[in-house]
Every structure is written in C-alpha cells, then in structure tokens.
C-alpha cells in the first residue's frame, strides 16, 4: 500500500536533487532546469496531499505554480539569451560583474 509518506519522500529526493544540481553545476541553462525540477517536486507533494486529504486545493495550486513556472521559464531564458549575446558565455563563473 502506497501512503502519503512514500510520495513525500520521493518529492524530497527530487527537491534535494534540484538543490544539489543548482549548487554543483556551472551552466546557467542546467541550473535553470534544476529549478524546474524543484518546482516539479513541490507540485508532486501538492497533488499527493490533495489526494490523501480528499481536497482539490492542492490541484488548484499546481495550476498556478505551473503558470508561474511558464512565465519564469520565458523571462529567465530571455535573460540567458541576452547575457549570452553580451558575454558569449552562459558559465555563471564568468558572469560576475554584479559580485561586488
């Protein structure tokens, strides 16, 4: 029998993978994909809670999170393209003019 805990642990694993990916990778696009992975992990726990608590609120929130993710992907990728046009790289170690 699959319980809520199974889904929450899976969601935690996926979220942790996303966090580790953001920390260890240097390619801005892959970092962005890891952020999408974290959003997906949270969506999974929302839907799991909605199912096990007989509620619809979780599913409704997933829609709004997906909207925010779509908007974020559009703007974020536009920023990455703009940065690449100016600096010819998407390696975040080279994009450090706002560091100090």
């Amino acid at each position: 029998m699959i319980t809520l805990t199974h889904y929450l642990v899976l969601s935690a694993i996926l979220f942790t993978l996303g966090v580790v990916g953001v920390l260890i990778r240097r390619n801005a696009i892959i970092i962005f994909m890891c952020i999408e992975l974290m959003l997906n992990a949270v969506n999974l726990s929302f839907v799991a809670f909605a199912h096990y608590l007989n509620s619809m609120q979780g599913q409704m929130f997933v829609f709004f999170i997906m909207t925010v993710a779509a908007a974020e992907a559009a703007v974020g990728l536009a920023i990455i393209v703009a940065v690449f046009r100016n600096k010819e790289t998407v390696n975040i170690d080279d994009i450090n003019i706002m560091k100090w």
Binding site: A12, N27, I30, M33, C34, L53
Partner: protein, 169 residues
C-alpha cells in the same frame, strides 16, 4: 499493482533526475528532464489527478522543455566550457549539504508535522462529477481572482521576454 507501478516510476524519476545533474551535455540533460516530467505525470495519474497529468505533459514536457531546447540550439554551447570550474571544491560540500537537507525533510515528514483536515472531495465524489469539470468549476468560482491575476502575470512575462529579446538592450 499500484505499488509496483509506483516503485518503478519513482525509480525512473530519481534515476533521470540524477542523470540530469551529472550530465555534461545540456541537450541530454533536457531530455532527461523531459523523462522526469513524464514520470511525474504518471504519478499524478496514480494520484487520480488526471487533468493535472495532462497539463503536466502539455505545459512542462511540451512547452517549457521545447523552449529550453530551442534556447540551447540558439546558444550553440561548447560542452567543454564546464571544465573550467572556478569552484571545484564546492562539489563535495554541496552533495553533503544535499544529504543533510534530505535528512531534515525526512525528519519533518516522519514527525508528522504536516497535517491537514480532510475535505469533501473523495475519490468517489470526484469520479461522479469528473476531475476536469470539478477543476473548471472551482477555477471560475472560488479561485476566480487568482485565475485573473494569472493572466496579468503571463502578460507581464510576455512583455518582459519581448523587451529582453530586443537587439539593443
């Protein structure tokens, strides 16, 4: 049956997630992420959220990941670029911190701090009305204001993306 399906799909999800964060080539990374999202859609179907599963495939695996692949194609990236990592010592602590974060989340889950009260939408009730119809009803009654604000958000995002794509920033 349901349990086996859960374990198989969960294993695929985690393995493709691990491949994503260690993959050198961004195109393969994007393909692994697409597989992760399709597996999560299967989990949504197991959780009886059919409409969310369809939207997951259409919006995430369809629209967002195609956008990613399109940008990877536009940028024409050098795979060797990641070799000149300025912070190689960050790798091990990052993985250890990840394990610590996972432990903390597991403690919270195990302590059963995440409790909520049961609502009226049982599986039997949802199946009589229909998942999609119920979501549509809620979207245009209880969640009308967030729904309308969403349109403003998407409008702002579209304008922002167009502004950033201009030749002279």
């Amino acid at each position: 049956m349901e349990a086996y399906l859960f374990y198989i799909v969960a294993a695929i999800t985690v393995v493709t997630g691990v491949y994503l964060i260690f993959e050198k080539n961004p195109v393969f990374g994007a393909l692994y992420l697409i597989q992760t999202m399709v597996s999560i859609a299967v989990l949504y179907i197991l959780l009886e959220a059919q409409f969310v599963a369809a939207v997951q495939i259409i919006v995430y695996a369809g629209a967002i990941m195609v956008l990613f692949l399109f940008v990877i194609m536009l940028l024409n990236l050098d795979i060797k670029e990641e070799a000149k990592n300025a912070l190689p010592f960050q790798r091990i602590p990052a993985i250890l911190m990840g394990i610590a974060l996972f432990a903390v989340i597991c403690i919270v889950i195990k302590a059963k701090l995440l409790q909520g009260k049961h609502d009226q939408y049982t599986t039997a009730y949802v199946n009589t009305v229909g998942n999609t119809k119920l979501i549509g009803n809620l979207l245009f009654t209880e969640y009308l204001l967030p729904f309308e604000i969403t349109s403003i958000l998407l409008f702002a995002a579209a304008i922002g993306a167009i502004m950033l794509a201009k030749r002279k920033l």
